[in-house]
Amino acid sequence: MSLLLLSGVTARYGRAQALFGVDLALDEGEVVALMGRNGMGKTTTIRCICRLLRHDGGRVEFAGHDLRPLPAFRAARLGLGLVPEGRRCFPNLTVVENLIAAARPGPWDLAAVEALFPRLAERRGQMASTLSGGEQQMLAIGRALMTNPRLLILDEATEGLAPVIRAEIWAAIRRLRAERQAILIVDKSLRELRALADRCVILERGATVWSGPPAALTPDLANRHLGV
């Protein structure tokens, strides 16, 4: 049984429909890459999964629960850990406070996160609002890990990170994958995604247009749907 299952999901922002039929399945321990050009609905899909947006058609299931009636915090407690687009650290909290605000017990604790991002350890008591862009990105990832999620959702989590750090994050994701952590990932680096993902799902105009293993993502397909 799939850990996460979306079928025929449609959703709208006010009057403007943004999703027109998203299908996506993700199994325990699997890494799925969600792809598409700008504005195609990747983030919107993730917002539906996390209940930050109500879908109006189709089904969204996680760990056997229908998510439709759940408020965001209940869905999150089922084991969703979100690194949102645009970081969204809590600016009026310090680094440590950001990390522990929503922490739940598990292998990821303060020490583990600070080992992953030593830079955060250096800036512990600093207000998140004054962190550099990349530091905030690290903080957002660390914050999601601290909830020890069953499914980690990364929406452009490497945006604005230096190459060395990016490499470290990819390494960390590979490690997580090896530990059979389920991950849903949106990223612009196709090279890394191909190497890492078990499956890719491509969105176009708010609908799933292709899905399959990275190996099957031919240059022709990539060019047609992703513009590369």
Partner: protein, 249 residues
């Protein structure tokens, strides 16, 4: 050698014990793209904020077009010809894309205190604004509220607003961020043409773009410039590889 447009000399800025900028000197010459790279928290954005006047340096000088900028505030510097894009998109979110760019054209015109004539019917404002939106690939999205644009589209809008200032130099803080592969390619092409209009100081973590675009690269680590040189020189520099590039060189 081409004329120097922007010149930083011995710029320093501390936050408490942290020396975010530590004696930085750097030049930007006509017609070039000068990339500024470095680890997260190295002080790149802080440097840009000092150039735009958002924060004041503790010491050092900034000269732009032969003129000392000390004492000029943010709007004055913008009008003097320094256009900036923000690392995190910063637009008027209730306005449409078009209104945002019109605002920038208006700022560049310097004639803000017009009280009676409708701005959005003024072709001197709207005409150029549409053109700038077209250049960044947002034609057809003019009437969408900025808040309703996708992340990548907002990044483009950010750049359109910088274009609208018709600046004498661009300070671009991570314009590729959030662009996606296709967008990054388009943006690269756009910037390559743009540098003929005005030189660009480019802060960016997307190394493909940096290596494709930069005429010169400076590497900032812990607030200091550790190397400046051509793409080839920087790629070959072991210190830079270790501090920043990793395997991506």
């Amino acid at each position: 050698m081409a004329e120097t447009v922007l010149e930083l000399a011995g710029l320093s800025k501390s936050f408490g014990a942290l020396r975010a900028t530590d004696g930085v000197s750097l030049t930007l010459r006509r017609g070039e793209i000068h990339a500024l790279i470095g680890p997260n928290g190295a002080g790149k954005s802080t440097l840009i904020r000092q150039i735009t006047g958002e924060i004041a340096p503790d010491s050092g000088t900034i000269r732009f077009m032969g003129r000392d900028l000390t004492g000029l505030d943010m709007p004055a510097r913008a009008r003097a010809g320094l256009a900036r894009s923000f690392q995190v998109s910063s637009v008027a979110s209730e306005f449409t894309a078009l209104q945002n760019v019109v605002l920038a054209v208006l700022g560049a015109s310097g004639r803000v205190f017009g009280f009676l004539a409708p701005a959005m019917a003024d072709l001197r404002l709207v005409g150029p604004a549409r053109a700038h939106l077209g250049r960044v690939g947002l034609s057809g999205r003019e009437a969408v509220r900025a808040a309703d644009l996708s992340h990548g589209e907002r990044r483009r809008l950010e750049l359109a607003m910088a274009l609208a200032l018709r600046p004498k130099a661009f300070l671009l803080d991570e314009p590729m961020a959030g662009m996606g592969p296709e967008g990054a390619r388009e943006m690269t092409a756009l910037l390559a043409g743009l540098k003929r209009e005005a030189p660009i100081l480019l802060v960016e973590h997307d190394m493909d773009a940096v290596f494709a675009l930069a005429d010169r690269i400076s590497v900032l680590v812990y607030g200091r410039i550790i190397a400046t040189g051509t793409v080839a020189e920087i790629r070959a520099d072991p210190a830079v590889r270790e501090a920043y590039l990793g395997e991506e060189a």
